[in-house]
Subunit: 227 residues, 2 copies
DNA sequence: ACCTGAACACCGTTCAAGT
DNA sequence: ACCTGAACACCGTTCAAGT
């Protein structure tokens, strides 16, 4: 007597060519934005696409290749400055574009974090920054140092903002403020009495991601471009 | 007839109290430095300690708690500046301490990346930076903004250096240089002819992690401290 | 209190097979 | 060529049990 299998999956075999790299990357980004890095799973990705787990492997060699492609696609979305305006303004515009991208896709930044930057899209952004820095009057070698510094600061600020937002979810805002205040109150009050009153400002600075980034970027550009 | 079990584990039951949080964290850091984030596994950690997998759970609630504790321990290792010297020099000394820590423990930085900063040790570093910035003449609110910017830049630079080193392992250096050169050569040669010759300098800047960091830090401090 | 192995619900990926 | 499920070697963690 033959036993009928549990037939647990009501999903029918999907028509051919329903899948392509673009659809897969779209689903990956959606998953990342909606549920975070830990939710980006080959099984979850396939389910999001309504397809068997292994179908994805026909288009990408594995999870690492998908992650690289996601990063490349997102970096490609950064809009290069229009070209009008002073070099300094265009630099700010471009850096803000990078910052905004990572703020909108925090999980992508987290993924980028563990992998080298492979793609040509990233090189396009770097090129543009270099051009603008040279246009602003820097010598080639100084421009290269400045470009790296701008990217480093932008990535660090994005990461900080992402982590900050994540912390807010976990810990009540009052909790953080209280901890900082307590810590500051422990300082010898005769040396820096002003510090004890700084907790609100600290919390504010950590909250205002974008304004904080713009202030730091302005300072960095001041230091880099000053002749 | 009783079947003797395969007896696959020659490890004897370990004496009591061989384990404590400190030993566990030491093993975790060793594992991280030696084999990277992906190798930090509850099973691997227990093996490193010569103990059954579940023994660790008597001292930490789970992997997340261990990661937080590792971060806290490492941040505690940052040496605060001695206190002599101009505020600006002390700021550089302190920031370099943070940078050095993350350069020596790249995996720790990667772990820190996905989690909010919880520990008191981090607050100690932040405190010191704030004191020095106020000592350097900044108003409290400006000091707070500057402190966040310094941390953001330092984290970004560390991350960049870590990723750079990882990329070197994967990709031949010549490969990267060639890709950048090709990309730069594609630019319209009449607009920025100097860019095509910049590839060597780009590669150099990416390689010299610490010197690059110091240059960027100096520029940022110039911008932040200028009255 | 501290340490143990077995078991559970996951994960990425290999494989042989279907269409 | 493209999609499939079963199977393999992992993972963190729960659990009941030993000492």
């Amino acid at each position: 007597m033959t036993v009928t299998p549990p037939a647990r999956s009501p999903r029918r075999r999907v028509p051919r060519n329903t899948l392509n790299p673009d659809r897969i990357l779209g689903a990956a980004v959606a998953l990342l934005d909606r549920r975070g890095t830990e939710a980006l799973t080959m099984r979850a990705l396939a389910q999001e696409l309504g397809v068997g787990t292994m179908a994805v492997y026909s288009h990408f060699k594995g999870k690492d290749e998908i992650i690289d492609a996601v990063n490349e696609r997102l970096i490609g979305e950064i809009e290069l400055p229009s070209g009008s305006g002073a070099p300094r303004e265009q630099l700010i515009e471009l850096c803000l574009g990078v910052y905004r991208l990572f703020s909108e896709h925090p999980s992508a930044l987290q993924l980028l974090t563990s992998r080298p930057l492979r793609g040509d899209e990233a090189v396009a952004v770097i090129d543009r920054m270099l051009c603008l820095l040279i246009e602003a009057g820097l010598e080639p070698s100084a421009a290269v140092r400045a470009q790296v510094a701008l990217m480093q600061y932008t990535i660090g600020a994005s990461l900080w903002a992402v982590r900050r937002r994540r912390a807010e979810c976990g810990e009540a805002e009052a909790g953080l403020q209280e901890r900082i205040r307590r810590r500051l109150a422990d300082l010898p009050p005769d040396s820096y009495p002003s510090l004890a009153g700084l907790a609100p400002e600290l919390v504010t600075a950590q909250q205002s991601g974008r304004a904080q980034y713009e202030a730091g970027l302005a300072a960095l550009l001041d230091g880099l471009l000053r002749t």
